[in-house]
Symmetry: C2
Subunit: 100 residues, 2 copies
């Protein structure tokens, strides 16, 4: 998060910057501790998106954004290919709350 | 993991030390990255347990072990009370592979 920004604002901004999508609806699910080695908290949101704008990614952020279906993500998780902790947590939370 | 020990051995040892249970069956699910701030990997297993022995916990490990049902854990995750990333990831992986 940037200074003076709350988690909801940061989620909205990051979504727009990273994917070009503006959230039509943004649901806060919960925060969690990614690792017991630090007190850092991660905040998880589900967004429903509409039209796509332009991405504004920092040059240092080299990840590629790939839009996938919920079924595709489910299959990738089932096969053990998803190694990104935050994605796995977001999946667990979204699933338990009926978003999948 | 301790020196010379693989993830499976470490999981078995930690389960016994922390809970007093010896795994009757131990299934390796996958590894993941808890945080993108480090290259550390976390390894996730599902254990079926049988009889309980004695715990051998280090004095510095002050967490209390509480044995809960799968339904209880599901309810706690649904209500947003589980903040521990590794538990949320283990839940996602176990669920996607049919252990829940």
């Amino acid at each position: 998060m940037e200074k003076g920004e709350d988690a909801q604002d940061a989620a909205k901004r990051e979504l727009e910057e990273e994917t070009g999508y503006t959230p039509k609806e943004l649901f806060y699910l919960q925060w969690y501790y990614p690792t017991s080695r630090s007190n850092q908290r991660a905040y998880v949101f589900v967004a429903r998106v509409d039209k796509k704008g332009k991405t504004k990614r920092e040059q240092s952020e080299l990840q590629r954004v790939k839009i996938v279906s919920k079924d595709y993500l489910k299959r990738k998780i089932l096969s053990g290919e998803v190694k990104h902790g935050a994605t796995l947590v977001a999946f667990a939370l979204a699933l338990s709350r009926g978003f999948f």
